[in-house]
Symmetry: C2
């Protein structure tokens, strides 16, 4: 069940090419002013919808979200900004709202202008097709995703709904992280901003498929304010939705065959722990060893060592899926290569690293690196 006030629709607009016959443009509408919040990519090359979205959420409220797959509208200059505004304007007109009540989201190829004409023609159909079914919207923003990502959590009478697309953390012609969190709870802008920022810290910002960061990554949160509920309950539900979306994104990582949790503790600070966790998570040699179930813990030691965080190798302990692998920087007593190989053949793997030098900890989520990642990302897009 979706939160009170929100409806959804999707159409095929042939965004990437008229030949593509799948829903690739989606609309979310809120029947009243929704309190709005958002977080956006830190990439310095920001797509037009990101630059516009950053301004809009500053204003504090939104009524609609117009999204497309197949084209990122990035590196398209002032024309790209104009293209996005024309779409926002058309949506506003067909819904009887203001242009700046409409937030744009795009994902797809970089550097190509949007086929605005084709898209404009479909907007009346989008506006007329609005229904209480978030799945149609979720499907319309999919790229290399293998399934739509929709999750719901309740906070008493209030509902929090999350919709996301993922795949690679970036892939200009294919994937970007877009997420929309919708709730009918009553919440003020400041609280919503704080909850979102807090929630992404250990979820969206703890996730890496290939270490690349998109020009388009965006998470929008809208609250329609129909249901009065305890703010702590609302925060719990929003955090849960965001955590679940982040996990779904990793599990559906491009070509991923494994879900890998990399926990680092005993660091001097959380920042140091995160640096080490990301170095291990992004190491191609660790990722390929995981893909091949190669019980090759030296690659993890290597990644820890080059992560730039000051460490004492002889204090490092590593446990993989419960099996003690490294003690004091060396092979642990009772380590079994064969047993570790068996553990690494499972779909879910946990790598726990203790640096033995402080209270800082951080958990990152990643995947292995398979032939399919190379296949998905090397195919010429014609």
């Amino acid at each position: 069940m979706s939160p009170k006030g929100f409806t959804f629709s999707a159409v095929n607009a042939g965004v990437k090419s008229p030949a593509v016959k799948r829903a690739d443009m989606g609309l979310i509408f809120c029947d009243r002013e929704a309190v709005a919040s958002g977080v956006f990519t830190l990439n310095q090359v920001k797509a037009a919808p990101v630059l516009i979205g950053m301004e809009l959420v500053e204003r504090g409220t939104l009524r609609a979200v117009i999204a497309n797959a197949g084209n990122a509208n990035a590196c398209t200059g002032s024309e790209g900004m104009e293209d996005a505004r024309r779409l926002m304007n058309a949506v506003a007109q067909s819904l009887g709202i203001e242009r700046d009540d409409v937030a744009p989201l795009s994902t797809g190829v970089i550097g190509v202008r949007l086929p605005v004409q084709r898209m404009l023609e479909k907007i009346p159909e989008l506006a007329q097709g609005l229904k209480d079914d978030p799945d149609v919207f979720a499907r319309s923003i999919m790229t290399t995703d293998t399934y739509p990502k929709v999750v719901t959590h309740r906070a008493g009478a209030a509902t929090v709904l999350g919709i996301a697309k993922g795949a690679g953390m970036i892939a200009p012609d294919m994937a970007t992280t877009l997420a929309v969190v919708l709730t009918d709870a009553v919440i003020d802008k400041q609280s919503l901003d704080n909850i979102i920022k807090k929630s992404i810290r250990h979820t969206f910002n703890a996730v890496t498929i290939d270490g690349d960061t998109s020009t388009n990554d965006t998470l929008l949160a809208l609250a329609s304010g129909y249901m009065h509920e305890n703010i702590d309950e609302i925060e719990k539900a929003i955090s849960a939705v965001i955590r679940d979306l982040a996990v779904l994104i990793v599990r559906d990582g491009e070509g991923a065959t494994k879900f890998v949790e990399v926990r680092v503790e005993g660091a001097q600070s959380e920042a140091s722990a995160k640096t080490v966790a990301m170095a291990v998570s992004n190491s191609l040699l660790v990722k390929t060893a995981l893909f091949g179930a190669d019980p090759n813990w030296g690659r993890i030691m290597g990644a820890i060592g080059y992560s730039k965080v000051p460490i004492d190798p002889e204090r490092i302990g590593i446990t993989i899926s419960g099996h003690r692998v490294v003690e004091q920087g060396r092979e642990a007593q009772g380590f079994s290569e064969e047993f570790l190989h068996e553990l690494l053949e499972k779909k879910d793997i946990s790598i726990s690293i203790n640096l033995g030098s402080g209270p800082g900890f951080f958990t990152a989520y990643t995947t292995d690196l398979s032939y399919d990642y190379v296949k998905i990302n090397s195919e010429y897009r014609t």
Copy 2:
């Protein structure tokens, strides 16, 4: 022709396992005290031979180098140090020199003790087999290398010989960069140190296959001092040898199908230029696009944008193999996707990026990312 004073030998010692029937232990001997210099991995997890080698080159001279493939002698603690010293000692005895005249080099699996007994038994054979043929030594240190890497440059009467192994920039159970530069020129320790440090800056330190840095990477330089030559000539020859070795290592990168030069100019400093060049060189999405000849310049813009170096996207220009692709952060006038696709199908590719914001420049050398990289690095090593 190898430099006067140096001889070489190699044997099969079954370092990885007695079943492996290829030369995997090599010796270099100098018939007199050689001025010695070296550079070592910056990885904080340093193998025993690295820790020992760093001490030895401080002393200023060496007489021999004992190297092995198949085992890195890393993460092996005090026993690993002891194992290395036992080998150094045995080599010293059979050559009638001091233990600390012998530098150890190892590459291979991390965390496993060296099979010292098997190796000790072979050392007399190594000492007796010394000949004027560097190729036997070059082959004995190969891992996933597909060919031995030996280059020579002349400096008047003096000769500079380089031997290296490469493949991945790290792969604990397979590859590491080891390099030995030998010359019969007369040169003092200080000059040799300076020349080596200067030479690696834009060669070995400008190379990346997978962004990982080994626990064992080592470059040793030995000068036997038979030939008096102009120091500038000697420096030129040493630099040329080191540059050639670096290029050979990239060309033989694990699974590489392309040799890619990434030049960044117009940066605020050389350091900024290097950061951007390395971000682009290490981007999985750029590497996979290169493998697939996908004319997807957005991935390069994306990598520049997340490289943390402050940039103005609208000042960025990109030229690929001579074809103007991006101007002012957008698709260049006259850009042809089809033509770029053709250019990317060639084996050698040059990516030239102008950030338009300063005098800093740097050129990095890398490869694409192919199925074979995943294959080579994901296979379980039993």
